[in-house]
């Protein structure tokens, strides 16, 4: 990974609530993620993991409560612009090449020297040789690499990953785990939603279980993490 040029970012969720009509997706969720933490969210489908991450990414407006980004001193700051978001959908265009995708998003994000940044990230995710190929010709694993590269364009200090391993084969999962390990070790804050245990969940320094929109378990103990991540239906 490139040398970090970011300020460590923490995230504070204060009484986050999200309603879709009469249905509660999140019920007054409050938690604080310290800068450099790697948090795994577990829970059944519909427990609120994706909604919470999308609220943190400012893609979804909460019905109540607020999300604050914190600097290393714990003070509220406007570090949202330094987050990267990866969903289980790739969030890149199939009809563009890997390079065109990264170049376009780099330009939109106002990144200096977008061409050089795109080339460096393609090198980093091991797709330099396929940079001119249309994304639709890529395997699921390669698409996810492009997705990770897109999320890293702005050199984010916090990464939000919504089921990043969906559809990946074991080789792809190993690659993703190694990439995330390097990002975590570089000091990036990572919030990820997961289904079950894997090489990726082993990176977590904290596990949080959501059920019906509420936090029902929160631990840093490795032994408890296993129980949270492998809970029936997780």
């Amino acid at each position: 990974m490139t040398a970090p040029a970011f300020a460590p970012t923490g995230i504070r969720f204060e009484n986050i609530e999200k309603r879709y009509g009469g249905l509660y997706a999140l019920r007054r969720v409050s938690l604080e993620v310290a800068p450099g933490d790697c948090v795994a969210f577990a829970g059944r489908n519909g427990s609120g993991k994706t909604t919470l991450l999308r609220i943190a990414a400012k893609l979804v407006r909460p019905s109540g409560g607020k999300v604050n980004f914190l600097n290393s001193g714990g003070e509220e700051t406007d570090l949202w612009a330094q987050t990267g978001f990866v969903a289980h959908a790739t969030m890149v265009y199939d009809e563009l090449t890997a390079e065109e995708n990264l170049l376009m998003f780099a330009k939109l994000q106002g990144i200096a020297e977008p061409g050089a940044r795109a080339a460096a990230l393609l090198e980093e995710v091991g797709l330099s040789e396929r940079r001119g190929s249309l994304v639709r010709t890529f395997s699921r694993g390669m698409r996810q690499r492009v997705a990770i590269a897109r999320a890293l364009l702005n050199d984010p200090s916090a990464l939000l990953l919504d089921e990043p391993a969906t559809g990946l084969d074991p080789e792809g999962i190993t690659w993703l785990a190694n990439a995330l390990r390097r990002m975590r070790d570089a000091g990036r804050t990572i919030l990820m939603s997961l289904h079950g245990e894997s090489e990726i969940s082993a990176l977590a320094t904290r596990a949080i279980r959501l059920d019906a929109g509420s936090v029902v378990a929160d631990t840093r103990a490795r032994s408890d993490m296993h129980a949270i991540l492998t809970f029936a239906g997780a």
């Binding site: 979804v60 978001f85 959908a89 265009y93 563009l96 330009k107």
Partner: protein, 224 residues
């Protein structure tokens, strides 16, 4: 300036993806061609009859083609959740609309200009002398179709029964644009061609009002 720069980048993406797949242009050109050819068989296209029915028929075919073209505009962004990636990247969400609006208007205009010579031959009307004025009417009319069309495409893409939703929302709203465009085209195809400034002004006014509304409220249409 960031708005214009982002719009230019996104417009480039829209054009590149369309010219690579040619999905929309092929469909709409074939659709309009079928309508225009089919109707040329249903009545004797003398000059007089063509002047009476031609403009209405032309704009009706453009409207149906536009509803075909506008449907996938935001729907395509849902395949890989690329709309979220755009929302996270742009400084002003209006640039997403501006780029899509520019692309839709351009594609529609391109289709219309391609169809004009075929219409002129099949319906025995002379368009060469008024071609620049006709392009102006087509531009303002297409913009009038594309502005609410792009907005409603964003709404319907997130709705259930989306295929039904877009024409249901769009067609009643476009009635004034269709009337104004047809009248302005009629004026140009008349025996003594004249550019109807009143209808042209109406079209420009419609475009300005709806573009302003899109600028003010567009951001909310993109929210989940």
């Amino acid at each position: 300036m960031a708005l214009l720069a982002d719009t230019a980048v996104l417009l480039g993406k829209e054009l590149r993806t369309e010219f690579r797949s040619r999905e929309l242009l092929t469909t709409t050109v074939v659709f309009i061609l079928v309508i225009v050819v089919l109707f040329s068989f249903t009545f004797d296209p003398s000059v007089g009859e063509s002047r009476r029915f031609g403009p209405g028929l032309l704009w009706l075919s453009f409207l149906f083609a536009a509803s075909l073209m506008l449907q996938p505009c935001f729907l395509r962004e849902q395949n890989n959740d690329t709309l979220s990636a755009l929302r996270l990247s742009v400084q002003d969400p209006f640039s997403i609309f501006l780029a899509k609006l520019g692309a839709n208007t351009l594609f529609l205009l391109l289709t219309e200009v391609l169809m004009l010579p075929i219409f002129a031959i099949l319906y025995n009307v002379h368009i060469l002398a008024v071609f620049p004025q006709l392009v102006l009417v087509l531009f303002l009319g297409s913009l009038g179709v594309a502005i609410p069309g792009t907005a409603f495409s964003a709404i319907s893409a997130q709705a259930r029964m989306r295929e039904l939703m877009l024409p249901l929302l769009l067609l009643p709203l476009l009635t004034p644009v269709l009337i104004a465009s047809t009248e302005a085209t009629s004026g140009l195809l008349a025996e003594n061609p004249a550019l109807r400034i009143d209808w042209l002004g109406f079209l420009a006014g419609f475009d300005i009002v709806f573009l302003t509304a899109l600028w003010l409220f567009g951001e909310y249409l993109l929210e989940e």
